[in-house]
């Protein structure tokens, strides 16, 4: 309960600061929309020349992309760990965080949240609605629960990978560019997994499981029975990967010595 009330207090503070700078907020909205538009235009133009991509239709691929945007938006809103090394380790902000009686990872998530990223999820839902109307997909009442479960699973997979990468900073304070690299790899999950070489397929399923953020769970809603097994595995992968990340984090915090004075 304590954590929940902390969460809402941070949220209220956040709203106040953000609404002070409305022009910046608008700029962020628009540039988010534009980066999604780049991918959409690519798909739309490509499907002007072909009707199938390895057996997947245009609307199915759009649906996968739309789905991907939702867990990705949740991840983007709460796990802004891009500059964790610089902000918390090099500048010594971590010392401040550790003196407080709330779990350090939870505090950092709240301090760095960017709720405006959630708008990307709305774009994703609109794309999914468009695609499912064209595919005339039918949904059951429990699909909404599945959707929430899959979105959380996907977001936790993302979070697990990026939190684990952030913990590297506890062991080595050198700057690394692994995070942007991982960001590039994560884009692979947006397309049907069967277009890749089987080594890449294996990596995207078990080692850096970004396929669980896009194509696997989306196949459930598309009625692709051959992928159902993987789809149902999404929340479990989320729990496993986020669990690993938290263990690594706690081990890292124990080792943390502080860089400041």
């Amino acid at each position: 309960m304590f954590y929940v009330s902390i969460f809402f207090q941070y949220m209220a503070q956040y709203m106040k600061t953000k609404l002070q700078y409305r022009a910046d907020l608008l700029v962020e909205f628009i540039s988010d929309l534009m980066s999604q538009a780049v991918n959409l235009v690519f798909l739309l133009v490509v499907f002007g020349h072909t009707s199938l991509l390895h057996g997947w239709t245009r609307d199915e691929i759009l649906f996968i992309y739309g789905f991907f945007l939702v867990p990705y938006a949740v991840f983007g809103a709460f796990f802004n760990l891009w500059d964790f090394n610089e902000r918390y380790i090099v500048r010594g902000e971590m010392d401040r965080v550790l003196t407080r009686p709330v779990h350090s990872l939870f505090q950092i998530i709240l301090e760095r949240m960017e709720l405006e990223s959630l708008l990307g999820g709305v774009t994703g839902i609109i794309i999914m609605a468009y695609a499912s109307a064209r595919l005339s997909l039918s949904f059951h009442w429990y699909d909404i629960l599945m959707f929430i479960l899959f979105v959380l699973g996907g977001a936790f997979i993302y979070a697990g990978v990026f939190v684990s990468l952030a913990t590297i900073s506890f062991w080595s304070d050198a700057r690394t560019s692994i995070m942007p690299m991982m960001y590039n790899i994560s884009n692979y999950g947006r397309y049907p997994i069967d277009i890749y070489h089987r080594v890449i397929r294996y990596i995207l399923t078990w080692i850096l499981p970004f396929a669980f953020v896009g194509v696997y769970p989306a196949s459930y809603f598309l009625g692709k029975k051959e992928w159902y097994g993987y789809a149902f595995f999404t929340p479990i992968m989320g729990v496993i990967f986020f669990g690993i990340a938290v263990v690594l984090w706690n081990a890292g915090v124990k080792r943390y010595r502080g860089a400041g004075n």
Partner: protein
Amino acid sequence: MDKYIEMIRIRFLMMLAYRTNYYTGILIYAINIAAYYFLWSAIYGSKSTMQGMSMAQMTTYVAISWMARAFYFNNIDREIAMEIKEGRVATELIRPYSYLGMKTMQGLGEGIFRLLFLSLPGIFLVALFLPLRFPTDVHTWMFFTLSIALSFIINSELNLLAGIIAFFTLNNEGLLRAKRFVIDLFSGLILPISFYPDWAQEAMKYFPFQGISYIPSMIVTGSFQGQAILHGLLFQLVWCVLLLIPIQLLWRAAKKQLVIQGG
């Protein structure tokens, strides 16, 4: 002239000091190239050519456009905006060189560095895994070299323009981001211009963006032949000159109404 060459040299040495950052850069580019390679092979499926390009040409196109990007890409727009924000531009302006020229030279130093330490090893790495096909005749390479130099000029001119606008708006973060997406989409980096619908291709003829990536990549893959190469180079050359006009006009206006915030 000497001082500008010195600028290139200093920026090059500065980048050299942080060269370890570029090992991951090579991997990032390789990952992107591989992703697009798989995507395009799925798109081609059993088709042997699309829009006059074979799959082998498309693979080379993708690899070359990413590696060329390492050369022409620079952040001088961001640097200018930052110097204006922090007021450092005041000291820059009283120094005995052209501010914009100096910025361009710094961009060139960076570009040459990335060409040697990112593009060249990167293309070797990619060639180990993907079936790249390069032209064998010297002329194509000469045209490509010329074309890529013009790409650098066009891209830098657009960056200067975007940077100068910060003199008027003080915070132009949104504009800089929008410019990046427009260039990603319409330069031909992620998609050859010939794939766009006709009306879009027609419209893009009136913008400089395809001079940044599409034209050099089409030359090196052999998709442009004879007349088309000369046309492409002429297109780039014309834009190189045309873009100087708004830069000069805005720059003159900018200096007049410059406000230093602190400093």
